[in-house]
């Protein structure tokens, strides 16, 4: 229910500048994902928004009001931690009710209703009497989300909530978080992850961070189709975008050509030739790794299965309209 605005926000720990001046607007009810490689400052930025860390300089506004000096609880936020951070000595019910119990002005009955409503949303009602140690990782994470829902926050913060779960559970919980966003569509959500798949699937808008600065903000498809830099182009999408430099790029009058694996076709009259290094069959599609004399192998995504022999030569062509051209500074030429 709150719009968040960051104005030239900086954060340093001692002499280390972690956040180097971030300007960002998050709209009301938006699902914003911070994504970037480790050490880019995405978690720190989330902690600045939560109020767990103080801002070194700049301004943070919630609904137009400066909240720089407000404590986390006064900002109306709730946070889900990577490590769940449940109180180990309290039952699931107590964990979820703890914050409300300490706030004045909630009757026991009202607290019970709120906890049970959140528990029903996450299907954890049958675990309310258990201790966290009696739950599995996925159940614990749902309790942590439930605790956050019970607070009835204006802003919902997620700090890599799925990293401690196994692959299957990660997908299931991801879908639950997406459903949660639909049900609580007036709550602003900010989600930190290093996994670009989570970012693509969950986000209304993605904020790509690099080295303490915002690299690009946009919808998932904007970032996928119109990356503002080589960095974003390489970070968003799986498999990673291929970069081809040198003479092959000069032919397209740029210094680097970026082309995604799914936008290349293997065909006899292809303009580029490469030696097959390795193939990966994933069932629905397959990845063919080609050595084309570039720094990294070029990955071609191919529908269905393939059986190219390693060492054999194949010809490929990029789809002309899907080519991204970058100049020497790594910026796109459009």
């Amino acid at each position: 229910m709150a719009a968040i605005e960051l104005r030239n926000v900086k954060k340093s720990f001692g002499v280390v500048n972690v956040i180097k001046g971030v300007d960002l607007e998050v709209k009301k009810g938006e699902f914003m994902v911070f994504v970037g490689p480790s050490g880019c400052g995405k978690s720190t930025l989330l902690r600045l928004i939560s109020g767990l860390e103080d801002i070194t300089s700049g301004e943070m506004l919630f609904d137009g009001k400066v909240v720089n000096a407000l404590t986390p609880s006064k900002r109306g936020i709730a946070m889900v931690f990577q490590s769940y951070a449940l109180y180990p000595h309290m039952t699931v019910y107590e964990n979820m009710a703890f914050g409300l119990k300490l706030e004045k002005g909630h009757s026991k009955e009202a607290i019970r209703q709120r906890v049970e409503k959140a528990a029903d949303m996450l299907q954890i009602r049958q675990y309310l009497d258990r201790l966290p140690k009696q739950l599995s990782g996925g159940q614990r994470q749902r309790v942590a989300i439930g605790r956050a829902i019970t607070r009835d926050p204006k802003v919902f913060l997620f700090d890599e909530p799925l990293s401690n779960l196994d692959a299957a559970l990660r997908v299931a919980t991801r879908i639950e978080i997406a459903k949660l966003h639909e049900e609580m569509n007036d709550v602003t959500m900010i989600y930190v992850t290093h996994d670009q798949v989570e970012a693509m699937t969950l986000a209304d808008r993605i904020c790509v961070l690099r080295d303490g600065l915002v690299e690009q903000v946009g919808t998932p498809m904007e970032l996928y189709e119109r990356p503002d830099s080589i960095f974003v182009a390489g970070f968003i999408g799986s498999p990673k975008m291929n970069f081809v430099a040198g003479e092959k790029a000069s032919a397209f009058s740029c210094s680097t050509v970026g082309i995604r694996g799914e936008h290349m076709d293997i065909k006899p009259d292809g303009i580029w030739e490469g030696k097959v290094i390795h193939t990966e069959n994933l069932g629905a599609d397959s990845y063919v790794y080609l050595d084309m004399g570039q720094e990294e192998p070029v990955v071609v995504r191919h529908d269905g299965t393939t059986n190219y022999q390693s060492g054999s030569l194949v010809r490929v062509s990029p789809q002309e309209d899907r080519i991204h051209r970058f100049n020497e500074a790594g910026k796109p030429i459009r």
Binding site: P72, A78, F81, P88, H89
Partner: protein, 326 residues
């Protein structure tokens, strides 16, 4: 189907394999325990058995091995004189013994109470992040590392009524009208002993509690901050319940130590009825007054008291020696 066919025999074989492994482990555990059990039997079990045996005899230091069995006489004898008067004798009828019992209990209660409170405060401070924390952590152990004889002597000089620095300070600051003989005066002797013991053992308590505090994950404090939990409530609702297992173990260590306190009192306040504890009085009877049998009876009673207390504490307090319940 194939996976089931392969899975079935291994599943059937598993329990036997497991129990064999378990048996092996139990055997190994017994083997590892054996040297310690032998050592304990020699240095603790045998002397304890001898003490208990002597407490039922008329042993003296002059003739330890000619001691004869007299039953419960050292503990309590009831004799009815011809005049009709009943006379009670033995340790349990000895006012000096009961004085020592109450001294010991009082000492244990107050010293452990203050050591726990101060130790908790010190541990909380040391658990916070600040520059030079490592040095402070090491430095705080110094009082505990000094041999008791040395620190007791040191304090007895500081507490001395004529030359002691504490009286000098008190006089100069106008807190005292006249120098106080802290260790010699019956009114202040217990206080002096308590102060020195608390000074000496608080660091030990603090370190045990600190170890417990460091088991508590930091992130739940962040969760509490987001829940808007006041720091004081954080302490009572989160820190205290979570550090309780470590605290309970630390307290029992200290209570057991305090109940058998000897050296500090022996050096700091010799022969003071105000501070004489069970250990001190039994040592006197055993080796100074040549009442070896009576001293043995007192030692046995002290042992019983500590044993009963420990059992009750572990049972009622649900002490968990595994370290934490996470």
């Amino acid at each position: 189907m194939t996976s089931e066919a392969i899975g079935a025999p291994t599943a059937a074989a598993q329990p036997r394999q497991k129990s064999e492994l378990m048996q092996q482990r139990v055997r190994a555990a017994r083997l590892f325990l054996l040297p310690m059990m032998i050592a304990l039997a020699v240095v603790a079990g045998w002397p304890l058995a001898r003490s208990i045996y002597f407490s039922f005899t008329d042993a003296t230091l002059n003739d330890l091995y000619g001691a004869e069995w007299i039953g419960f006489g050292n503990y309590l004898q009831i004799r009815v004189l011809e005049s009709g008067r009943t006379i009670y004798r033995g340790v349990l009828a000895d006012p000096a013994w009961w004085n020592a019992v109450w001294n010991t209990v009082r000492f244990a209660f107050w010293s452990v109470l203050w050591e726990t409170i101060l130790g908790m405060i010190v541990a909380l401070v040391l658990n916070a992040e600040f520059k030079g924390r490592g040095i402070v952590r090491a430095a705080i152990l110094i009082p505990w590392a000094i041999p008791t004889i040395v620190s007791a002597r040191m304090w007895s000089w500081m507490l001395n009524d004529q030359f002691g620095i504490l009286n000098d300070l008190g006089m100069r600051l106008g807190l005292l009208n006249a120098p106080v003989a802290w260790t010699a005066s019956p009114d202040t002797a217990m206080l002096a002993v308590l102060v020195v013991d608390i000074w000496k053992t608080t660091p030990f308590m603090a370190l045990l509690i600190l170890a417990g505090l460091q088991m508590i994950p930091k992130d739940i404090y962040e969760a509490a901050e987001i829940d808007g939990v006041h720091p004081v409530k954080q302490f009572f609702r989160i820190t205290l319940p979570l550090v309780r297992p470590a605290l309970m173990v630390a307290i029992i260590f200290r209570v057991l130590d305090a109940l058998r306190i000897f050296d500090l009192i022996y050096v700091l306040t010799p022969n003071s009825a105000a501070t004489k504890t069970m250990s001190v009085i039994s040592q006197e009877n055993l080796f100074q007054f040549n009442n070896f049998a009576e001293g043995s009876a007192q030692s046995t009673l002290l042992f019983l008291l500590i044993a009963i207390f420990t059992i009750l504490y572990i049972w009622l307090g649900k002490v968990n020696f595994d370290g934490g319940d996470r």
